[in-house]
Amino acid sequence: MFAFLARRTLEFLVVIFGVLTIVFVLQRFSGDPTNLLLPVDAPQEVRTELRHQLGLDRPLPEQYLRFIGRVAVGDLGDSYRFRQPALGLVLERLPATLLLASASLLISLVLALPLGTLAAVYRNTWIDSLATGISLLGQAMPVYWLGLLGILLFSVQWRLLPSMGGGSFAALVLPATTLAVYSAARIMRLTRAAVLDVLHQDFIRLARAKGLGEGKVLVKHALRNASIPIVTIIGLQFGGLLGGAVITETVFAWPGVGRLAVNAVQQRDFPVVQAVTVVIALAFSLINLAVDVLYARLNPRIRLG
């Protein structure tokens, strides 16, 4: 177990390092930040002085090392627009995004796991067709469009739910449900396939042959084994939810990192976009690390180390 953890942690560090390197390279492409920081008519001396302050006059390898060193102590640069540390801006809004993504994951699990299992158990019946149909549409609908339709029906037409803002439970319902649909569709599809796969195995036949009730066969044997691929995809889906949150937050004016990032792109505020990217990549990689460990615990066939 220790060797496995060590190897996965090393891989995790390589990935984070790689993300930082890509961000650094793109940052060099993003043009001279002094153009954005200074007025157009700023004298050349001021410009040179600022470039010196920012370390832009140093050789690239040195700039790279300094960048990594700054990131290591949590300094991801200052926002051009807000004139304050970008990391702080992101961390301020991170809880709202995590709340949205977690609520969505919860909703999609509550929908997808029972529906997917039912679809597999009652294969080729109307339940299966219904579940498969919902899953097909769910994967083909743009998240933000679903959000707009939700606003149209629940906020404009029936005036049941608020269409924007954060802070209250009612404000969470629409964005979380909207965001949940795509991952619910994916998880349902996979759950159905995984349960079907397991139901055809010999050990299920054996469990039935020794006289176990259908319910027990399903819960104790089938679902337990089907859970392995499902856990993996849930981890991946959480990353997708963090990404999908970017658009959903914009539709519903949800005060999270996604909206921060979109606004920053429009103002070409690179440090903020950079901070969002690094923080989300970090969160996503940590979740994947956790999923791998969980996966190894669930599946006794995986040799650790």
Binding site: M141, L148, R186, D197, V265, T277
Partner: protein, 289 residues
């Protein structure tokens, strides 16, 4: 061609039918659309669709500038299809080459390529696209480049795994023994065996690209406003959501139908290549995540 026709099931037929309609719209837009998509008619701005109290002149209503919604949806198919084809062709090329190199040569090449895959996959695609747009500015070309820069990983993962297996098979060993050059082996003997699964991935990716591209246009990061695109139409519709439901409803339906079409074709192709339908493998082909 007859081989395909004989094997079509309901999903396949529906998928190809939808695709045919979308392609027809894109190719024959000037003849199919009832009006000029950019013709402004402020006198009949925000007119409801014909069946919702409007006139037969604008079947699906008009937007803020009096532009015909139906015509703009027909023209909008062009942006979606062109982006999807360019992005998928580019990323499939890059991803397949890298995956084949990594799988066939192994060692250092494999380590570098597969670590790079991990790194790219650690950032959700939308964010990666946002970083790209910040650096290079929002435009359709940059959207396509962003897709290629991120989505090659989908093909590399599949190609890598398959080549790793193929490399040990006897017919490849025989090619090596017969003295074929590595390029010949890779292009003539390895690639043909990858084509099926990669085609499935590419088809599903077409749907994915259309879905996400519309999202980027919706955020104002894709096409300029004067070029009609489904995502851009939804962005405009959002501002008028309180008064004009048709502006948000119809472009979204167009996106959904198109994506359903590509997913149907992808599913159908997967069934053709993998007779064990419904089975689950750790790297489910066409996994979007």
């Amino acid at each position: 061609m007859s081989w395909i026709l004989r094997r079509l099931d309901a999903k396949g037929i529906l998928g190809f039918a939808i695709l045919a309609v979308v392609v027809l719209c894109a190719v024959a837009a000037p003849w199919l659309s009832p009006l000029d998509p950019n013709a402004q008619d402020l006198a009949s701005a925000i007119a409801p669709p014909a069946f919702g109290g409007g006139t037969a002149e604008h079947w699906l209503g008009t937007d803020r500038l009096g532009q015909d919604v139906l015509s703009r949806i027909i023209y909008g198919s062009r942006v979606s299809l062109v982006t999807a084809l360019a992005a998928v062709a580019g990323s499939a090329l890059v991803g397949t080459v890298l995956g084949m190199i990594a799988g066939y040569f192994g060692g250092f090449a494999a380590t570098v390529v597969m670590r790079l895959v991990d790194i790219v996959l650690a950032v959700p695609f939308i964010l990666l696209a946002l970083v790209f747009m910040t650096v290079f500015g929002p435009s359709l070309l940059n959207v396509i480049i962003a897709f290629i820069a991120a989505r090659w990983t989908q093909y590399t993962r599949i190609a890598y795994g398959l080549v790793l297996e193929l490399r040990e098979r006897e017919f490849i060993q025989a090619c090596v023994a017969a003295g074929l050059t590595t390029t010949d082996i890779l292009l003539r003997h390895v690639l043909v065996n990858l084509a099926g699964p990669l085609l499935v991935v590419a088809t599903l990716e077409l749907g994915f690209v259309i879905l996400i591209e519309s999202g980027l246009s919706f955020l104002g990061l894709g096409t300029p406003p004067e070029v009609p695109s489904w995502g851009g139409m939804l962005q405009e519709g959002r501002a008028l959501i309180n008064v004009a439901w048709w502006l948000t409803t119809f472009p979204g339906l167009a996106i959904m139908l198109t994506v359903v079409g590509f997913n149907f074709i992808g599913d159908w192709m997967r069934d053709q290549f993998d007779p064990r339908t419904g089975s689950v493998r750790p790297t489910e082909i066409g996994s979007r995540d």
